[in-house]
Each structure stands twice: as C-alpha cells, then as structure tokens.
C-alpha cells in the first residue's frame, strides 16, 4: 500500500470537516425542533432550555387534542393526495407526448410550462378565491387541490418528460414489432420501467401541496389545511402548539425526501434543459 501524500490527506480531512460542519448546520435546527416537540409544555415555556429532550409527549398530545387539528391534518392529507393524483394524471401524458413526438406547437407548449416557473404561482389563489365562490368550490378540498395542482403540474410534466426520455424508444418499437398496440406497449413495457420514477414525482407533488401556505390560507376558512391552521394561529397559539405543529409538518417531508432521494438529482438534471 502506498502512503497517501500529506497534502492530499489534509485536503481530505478539510473536506470532511466542512461537510460535517454543513451537515450540522442542516441538522441542528431540526434537532432543536424535535427537542421542543418531545418536551412537556412547561419545559417548552421554561428557561433556560435543556438541549436534550425529556421525551414527554405532553406537547404533541396538546397539539393533537387541540380543536381543529385532526381535521386540518386530514384536510392536508386529502388535498395533497388529490394534488398528487391530478398532477400525475395530467402531467404524465404530457411528459410522454413531449418525450416521444415531434409536432408543431411543441416549443410553445414547453414555453407555457417553463413560463409558470417565472410567475409567483401562489398568487393565483387571489382571483380563484372569487371564482370559487361563484362556482361553489370555495373553502373546499377540491378547490385548493386544483390550485396546488397548478403549482405541482409543471414539475410533474418536466419530471415525467425526463423519465420517459430515459427509456429508449427502441424498447417501445420492439414491443410494436412483437405484436403490441401503442397502448399495450405502454402498459407492458414503458409503465413497469417508469413506475418507480412516477412514484417519486407523485411524492414530490404531494410534498409541494403538503407544504404550501399562502394559497391554502387564502382559499380555506373552515376546511383549513395544517399549514393554514398553523399560520392563522401563529399570533395567538401558545409555543408548544407551534413547535409540535411544526414537528408534525416536518416529519412526513423527511420521510418523503428520503424515499425519493435516488431520483432527486436525475429529475432535476433533466428538468433543467
């Protein structure tokens, strides 16, 4: 074994040190939130604070027992699930079309999709609030899911576009020559291959909706989502409620990001072009 030169080793150690430092920068604030959520309300309001949790479920129990919280949680899940279904249902066919066909109007369509990125989308909620009152969609799960879909759809289109582009056309053509119709080839060859990626982008759509604050606050009154509930009770709610709420908000996001981590970079690499 050859010895690593000293300057190489120092560079490697420096890299490691910086990575650990940055990792701590990301993780410590989350840890502190966890400490707060796993402490009793009295501890949360107390001073000075302990930097280790007492594993008291008082705060979380207080939060979950608070009027409207379970309803808000349920609403958040429903809106996010609906957003997920809508954005994949609308986005995946478009992504497939973009990856497989050359046709007049393709560049205009891509421009439309990219354009949505340059707009502050949550503002859509303002005129839609009026529109929804007229159509009876106001303060409804579906109404909010529609707005969240307009937020998640461009991502769904670009991500599925990249997923389908990653599957050689040859595979589909081979299926056609072996007796498949276009639909059969899609079902038997393309779908099994893109399914993990589609799942990842569906999860992504879920998280986008789960985390959205502005439109949710504008569009819901009775049927508040968790974010809308937390935002509207920021000034009035006691600290333990806020921190436990924040914790519940963060938890699924952590799991989701872990689930899609393999796809994160591939998705963004191509959504770039």
């Amino acid at each position: 074994m050859t010895r690593e030169p000293a300057h190489r080793r120092r560079a490697r150690q420096l890299t490691m040190a910086l990575v650990i430092l940055l990792g701590a920068w990301v993780l410590v604030p989350i840890y502190l939130l966890v400490v707060n959520s796993l402490s009793s309300p009295a501890e949360v309001n107390g001073f000075p604070k302990s930097f280790v949790p007492s594993f008291d479920t008082g705060s979380l129990g207080f939060f979950l027992g608070f009027a409207g919280v379970t309803r808000a949680l349920l609403n958040s899940v429903l809106v996010a699930a609906l957003t997920m279904v809508l954005s994949i249902g609308l986005g995946a066919p478009a992504g497939y079309a973009l990856s497989r066909f050359e046709f007049p109007g393709k560049s205009s369509y891509r421009l439309l999709v990219l354009m949505t990125r340059a707009f502050p989308l949550p503002l859509l909620a303002l005129p839609l609030a009026v529109l929804f009152i007229r159509t009876g969609l106001d303060d409804s799960i579906l109404g909010l899911a529609l707005v969240h879909t307009s937020l998640a759809l461009p991502f769904a289109i670009l991500i599925t576009y990249s997923l389908f582009s990653g599957i050689p056309l040859e595979l589909e053509e081979a299926a056609w020559t072996l007796g498949c119709t276009r639909l059969q080839a899609f079902r038997k060859v393309i779908l099994p291959l893109v399914l993990p990626g589609i799942t990842a982008s569906a999860i992504f759509a879920f998280v986008i909706s789960w985390n959205e604050v502005f439109a949710a606050s504008v569009l819901t009154i009775q049927n508040r989502t968790l974010t809308a509930f937390l935002l509207q009770s920021l000034d009035v709610s006691p600290m333990p409620l806020k921190f436990a709420g924040g914790f519940v908000l963060v938890l699924p996001a952590l799991i989701f990001i872990f689930a899609v981590r393999r796809y994160l970079f591939a998705m963004w690499g191509i959504a770039n072009r």
């Binding site: 000075p48 604070k49 949550p122 005129p127 604050v213």
Partner: protein, 281 residues
C-alpha cells in the same frame, strides 16, 4: 406510427388545466389590478403605493432577496464542490444537505423561532456560557435587524437545498474529461473550478438563480412565523389587503408588482448568464 393527433390529445388535459388555472387567473388578477367598476384605472396602484407600509415591504423584500440569494448560491456551490470531492459517505452527505428541500417555509420559520424566541435555544445557550443574565428579546417589534437576520438564516437554511440539487445535477452532466484536460494543461483546482466548471454550469446556474430569486420574492410564511407583522414583505401585504383590509383590487396590484419584479429579474438573469446556442454541449 403515423398518429399525428395523439400528442395533442395527450397534451390537451394539461393545456386546458393550465389555461383555466394559470393563464385565466392571471388575466383576472391583471384585470382586478387595473380596473374599477369596469373602467381602466391606476387608482389601486396609487392606493397601494401611498400606504405607508408599501415602501417598507418593497425594500424588505428586495433586501432579503439581495442578501439571501447570493449567500445561497455561494453555499450551494461550496456544498456541491465538497460533495463531488468526497469518496466515502457521498450519498449520506447529499441526503442530509437536501433534507430542507422537503420542509415548508412555515415549518422553517417555526424551527428558527424555537431558536430565536425569548425562551429559546439561543438565549439558553448564551445564558449557559454567561453571555447574558436573563432571556433577551430578539424578535420584538423594535428588533427589526435581528428579525431580518433570523429570516435570512431561516431562508438560507431552508432553501439552499433546491439550488444544491440543481447544481449537483448540472455538475453531473459535465463530462469528467474537461476537468481532466484542464488538469493536464496545468490548471490549479481553483482555476479548474472558475475556468471549466462554472462556465459549463451556466445553464444550471441560470435555472437555480431564476427559481430561487422568484421564490425569494415570494417570501411569506418564514417572515410571518418569525416577525409576525413587524417585518412587512410584499407577499404578507398582499395577504393583509386581501383579508384584513378586504380590498382585493389592491391585493391584485401587489400581485402585479411581485409579478413585474419576478419577470424583470428573470430577464436579467437570462441575459447575464446567456449561453449562446453554439456553445451548448
């Protein structure tokens, strides 16, 4: 297969959807902002601009974006470079760095509130080392500077990940040979970064900057969580006009301002980081 209609059929649902829920609402917003009882007017913009909070909200928003985005760019680039230099634990580091990607701005605001609030961890730590005698108020209505700082920290903490992901993905698209060629021709690591990596990364830098700048201009929940109404920004004023003041015309005018600034920044970034077609790989 000669199906010329199929692509259009596949695009149709999303086009209809974007038409109804993207183009149409924007037309509505513009209409609300520019009319009163059906006649075109700039009155709503005057109302907006003459309100004492408008100037502050505009300044705060722009200042936040101007401070946050460059820090994030630098940090994301540093993270990306560090990660590419790692041999072991690379995936783990990437996962940790991208965790905030899944965290909403509201949750980020609450997380940093746990640190900065009066009985929070910052004061607890300062007390422990004897720097303060009792809990200090950091986020009171007179502490604009510390609120601003807390918002910057929370934003940098939360939203650097999105840039990181775009940049790491972009770096993955740059063939290794370019850097190796530069190394063979005698470029130092720093020169390889500035002369090879950065120029080739321009398309990703463009995407990352546009996305982040627009999101920075939409900053809302972090500010609400940390500063309440003490640090007005454009988005929070939009919210106030829509709900507390019940004037959706002025809210729409705010929306137009945010939109205008977003488009202006997008165009500037596109122009500054323009990649000529011939120079694309």
């Amino acid at each position: 297969m000669g199906s010329t209609r199929l692509p259009y059929l596949l695009l149709l649902p999303s086009v209809l959807f974007l038409g109804v829920f993207f183009l149409y609402p924007f037309a509505l917003v513009a209409w609300e902002a520019f009319n009163r009882d059906g006649t075109p007017t700039l009155a709503h913009f005057q109302t907006m601009a003459s309100h004492w909070k408008f100037g502050t909200a505009l300044t705060n928003t722009l200042l936040l974006a101007a401070v946050v985005v460059p820090i994030q760019l630098g940090l994301a680039l540093a993270m990306a470079v560090l990660v590419t230099r790692m041999t072991r634990g690379r995936d783990m580091a990437l996962y940790v760095f991208t965790i905030p990607l899944g965290i909403s701005d509201l949750a980020a605001g609450i997380i940093w509130l746990a640190i900065f609030e009066q009985t929070g961890f910052l004061n607890s730590m300062l007390q422990a080392v004897g720097a303060v005698d009792g809990p200090r108020i950091w986020l009171g209505y007179q502490d604009k500077a510390t609120i601003f700082l807390a918002v910057v920290l929370a934003e940098v903490w939360r939203a650097t990940a999105i840039m990181l992901v775009i940049l790491v993905a972009g770096m993955g698209l740059i063939p290794k040979e370019y850097k190796e060629a530069a190394e063979v021709f005698g470029a130092s690591p720093w020169q390889r970064f500035t002369r090879v990596t950065l120029p080739l990364l321009r398309p990703s830098l463009q995407t990352a900057l546009i996305l982040r700048t627009i999101l920075a201009l939409e900053v809302f929940a972090v500010v609400s969580a940390l500063g309440g109404t003490n640090l007005p920004v454009l988005m929070s004023e939009t919210y106030v006009w829509q709900f507390d003041l019940q004037d959706r015309h002025v809210a729409a005018a705010y929306a137009m301002v945010i939109l205008g600034i977003s488009i202006a920044f997008t165009l500037i970034i596109l122009r500054v980081l323009h990649v000529p077609k011939e120079a694309r790989t």
